[in-house]
């Protein structure tokens, strides 16, 4: 499998982890704990990616859970032609997309509720942590906000590229569009992000 797709965990430093395919075979033999291992192996990577795609930790956690549940149901269809994580992420992508569509409807109703009640929804973002410099926190908040403002299709490909390090070809397979489109979207996503972060970019350049 693609070595990039093997997460570097502490356990791997001390114990030789079973290959994904072996765990999958065990799952299919009814050993559910093997699936637990697969979940543990990829949960954080998937979660962080989904968090960036969805822009919400809570949504990402739910989507992550849904993804693994769906993956379990479809495990027998995993042919091993691609890396397990790529396959998993395709499921996650579909899950995330359906979630973002649902969320759009919810967002509309939140806006409507706001108009009616004047109540602000609570911002659940947790970017700011103790011990984090305000500057770093602000920058990260700005980056995250800018990312969140990208359109879904731009944000997804950019996250897959920058955070997942996937190749265009892999991204194209996941989002089901031509490679040229992926290249174009990534470029446009970067352009938009650059514009949105222009003030901070200028600071960064000055340093």
């Amino acid at each position: 499998m693609d070595p990039r797709l093997i997460p570097q965990t502490h356990t791997q430093q001390t114990v030789v982890a079973k290959p994904d395919q072996e765990l999958i075979a065990e799952c299919l033999r009814g050993q559910s704990h093997a699936f637990g291992e697969l979940v543990a192996r990829y949960q954080n990577r998937l979660y962080n990616t989904l968090k960036n795609v969805l822009g919400s930790a809570e949504e990402a956690q739910d989507a992550c859970q849904d993804t693994f549940l769906t993956a379990y149901q479809k495990l027998h269809t995993f042919g091993g032609r691609s890396a397990f994580y790529s396959w998993l992420f395709r499921i996650a992508f579909n899950t995330a997309i359906s979630r973002t569509r649902k969320r759009r409807r919810v967002a509309v109703s939140i806006d409507a509720a706001h108009e009616q009640t004047g109540t602000e929804p609570i911002d659940m973002r947790d970017d700011l942590r103790p011990g984090q410099s305000l500057e770093t926190a602000e920058r990260q908040t700005a980056v995250r906000a800018a990312l969140a403002e990208l359109s879904e299709e731009f944000r997804t490909v950019l996250v897959l590229k920058e955070m997942e390090g996937l190749k265009y070809e892999e991204i194209a397979e996941i989002v089901d569009c031509p490679i040229g489109t992926v290249r174009s979207r990534i470029h446009r996503a970067r352009e938009e992000l650059r514009e949105r972060l222009s003030a901070w970019m200028a600071e960064a350049e000055a340093l």
């Binding site: 559910s32 699936f35 637990g36 949960q43 962080n48 739910d62 027998h76 990534i186 960064a204 350049e205």
Partner: protein
């Protein structure tokens, strides 16, 4: 090339996704144009900023949470198995379910075995026959009471053969044993003894009296009620008879004549204040489930069969021969009677709506499933030991003594059911809540299924329940509707004491397990479906109970504490 295209190339260059030709072109531009170099630097900064976003970790228990939901969803999707064909699915993907079902199964068998719990086979030197009116009747049956044990066993073998040769009839396996049926059968057995020496053909047709017996859902029309069957019950005066002799003989019979007998039915009878009750679909709200056409059961049945059959054969070491057409005869389901009791109580006291109960019961069941995770090997071994002790003539009293220091009486429901009639078999398993007056609704099941499918956490389920509860109460207040009628006074759970005839002592016994051997249908196609050949009752006994365990009919009253 315009600026837009050039910038796109630059972006792709950053990603290393250019052709060699494009790459050298970009590198030339970069060498010549500081503005492009600046832009590339900005893209790199941007990349760094994105990659520097803090990463978080999901809770360590996330995998176990996922597994828990998977199990819960499995239970839901496996709902209400109604046909054996469902089990025959080609989908090999659901193998994981086998593990779970196996665990559940052994969960039942194991405590029975390890703790021994005074389990006793109440087996039958005394058979009573439930014959369909159309079944050919054999010659006069001798009174078994007057027979020596070996003679009884020989008679039993004859009966097995007779039933094997019985004419076509609906699959016995489709008829879930009803408590009424059991009780009637026992009555009939008495009447048969009284009529000793009479030709069997002259005996009443008890299958008619079994009419109220719940047909198995696979065949709600229930032709199965007419299937000839033999049930066995150990009379109170036959405590010395080694119950496992019958088991051993049935296995030997099967080994000698694979087409004759299939091991097969195992169900739990729950003791209630109205007497022992088998768990029948009609009696209860099926918690798990309505539509068990889930393909995953193929593997489940195979695994469960293998496990149980191996356990059964462990003492002799001889494998039970495969029965053609009966590759997958066993499946089981187990529920947590504690949860059942809890929620049944809520039904009775009308504290919860049916749908809420369904939701919560599923959660409870999942917790139960979680509990037993990892016990498989231990339980299988224990089962084997138990059966070994029994088949080697172990002393039931020893088992009882062991139970005194061992575990609690298992309070699980188990139903092992085959469907030999229409081919290989499905075993059905149902966890049912008795809910007279509260028939299950498709809507409530659907609601639950959706909730599960949405991957709601148990907290959310709890919120949902709370919300639904309020809604329900409001609705009742609004329209003044009277709450649904309370159902039967069902008592389940490990604490329900038994009050036995002739003894004022309370008993911890709450349930017994019935193992039934069923005859193979004699032929393919329109051949008659299986008929039970014999059965053994495994009854958890109390340490303080005498070895002579009364049959359920002899201990009619078991009351809640």
């Amino acid at each position: 090339m315009n600026t837009q295209q050039a910038d796109e190339l630059l972006s792709a260059y950053l990603d290393g996704e250019l052709s060699a030709e494009e790459q050298s072109q970009i590198e030339r531009w970069l060498a010549e144009d500081p503005a492009r170099r600046k832009k590339l630097a900005q893209l790199q900064v941007l990349r760094g900023a994105l990659q520097a976003l803090p990463r978080e970790e999901l809770p360590a228990e996330f995998p176990s949470r996922v597994l828990k939901i998977i199990e819960r969803n499995s239970l839901l999707s496996e709902s209400a198995a109604t046909t054996g064909d469902a089990i025959r699915s080609e989908n090999g993907s659901k193998l994981a379910a086998s593990h779970r079902w196996l665990r559940y199964g052994v969960r039942v068998l194991a405590p029975l075995a390890t703790a021994a719990l005074g389990l006793m086979f109440i087996f039958a030197s005394n058979f009573f026959v439930e014959q369909a009116p159309t079944a050919p009747q054999s010659d006069a049956g001798p009174s078994r009471r007057n027979l020596e044990p070996r003679a009884r066993e020989r008679l039993k073998s004859q009966e097995l053969a007779e039933h094997d040769a019985a004419p076509p009839g609906p699959a016995e396996s489709l008829r879930f044993p009803s408590p009424e049926g059991v009780q009637r059968a026992e009555k009939f057995s008495l009447s048969r003894q009284e009529n000793a020496g009479m030709p069997r053909g002259s005996e009443p047709a008890p299958s008619q009296s079994l009419e109220p017996g719940a047909p198995f859902p696979a065949d709600p029309g229930g032709g199965g009620n007419q299937a000839p069957s033999i049930a066995a019950s150990r009379p109170a005066d036959d405590a010395s008879h080694a119950p496992t002799e019958a088991l051993r003989e049935a296995l030997a019979e099967q080994q000698a004549n694979p087409d004759a007998v299939a091991v097969v039915r195992l169900y739990l009878e729950r003791m209630t204040d109205a007497g022992n009750k088998a768990l029948t679909p009609q009696e209860g709200e099926q918690l798990i489930i309505k539509d068990l056409r889930a393909d995953r059961f193929e593997a489940v049945t195979a695994s469960a069969q293998k496990s149980l059959v191996q356990s059964l054969n462990a003492p002799d070491g001889a494998p039970l021969p495969a029965v053609p057409g009966l590759e997958d005869p066993l499946l089981l389901i187990v529920g947590d009677l504690d949860a059942v009791e809890k929620w049944w109580d809520k039904i009775r006291t009308r504290d919860e709506t049916e749908s809420q109960i369904r939701v919560v019961a599923q959660v409870e069941l999942q917790n139960f499933a979680k509990e037993v995770d990892g016990l498989t090997a231990e339980i299988v071994e224990a089962t084997s030991q138990f059966l070994g002790r029994q088949t080697t003539g172990g002393n039931p009293d020893a088992a009882v003594a062991k139970s005194e220091e061992g575990r609690d009486l298992p309070v699980n429901e188990v139903v092992l059911e085959d469907s030999v009639g229409d081919g290989p078999a499905g075993v059905l398993a149902q966890l049912t809540l008795r809910s007279a007056g509260l028939p299950p609704t498709d809507e409530s099941l659907r609601e639950l299924t959706e909730a599960q499918a949405a991957g709601k956490s148990s907290e959310r389920l709890a919120q949902r329940q709370e919300s639904a509860n309020k809604k329900q109460k409001r609705a009742q207040q609004d329209d003044g509707a009277s709450p649904p009628p309370a159902g039967d006074k069902l008592v389940v759970g490990r604490a329900a004491p038994a009050r036995r005839a002739g003894s004022a002592r309370a008993s911890r016994q709450t349930a017994r397990v019935v193992i039934q051997f069923m005859a193979r249908p004699p032929g393919p196609a329109d051949a008659p479906p299986a008929e039970p050949a014999s059965s053994a009752v495994v009854e958890p006994a109390n340490g303080d109970r005498p070895a002579a365990v009364p049959t359920p009919s002899a201990s009619p009253e078991i009351r809640p504490q």
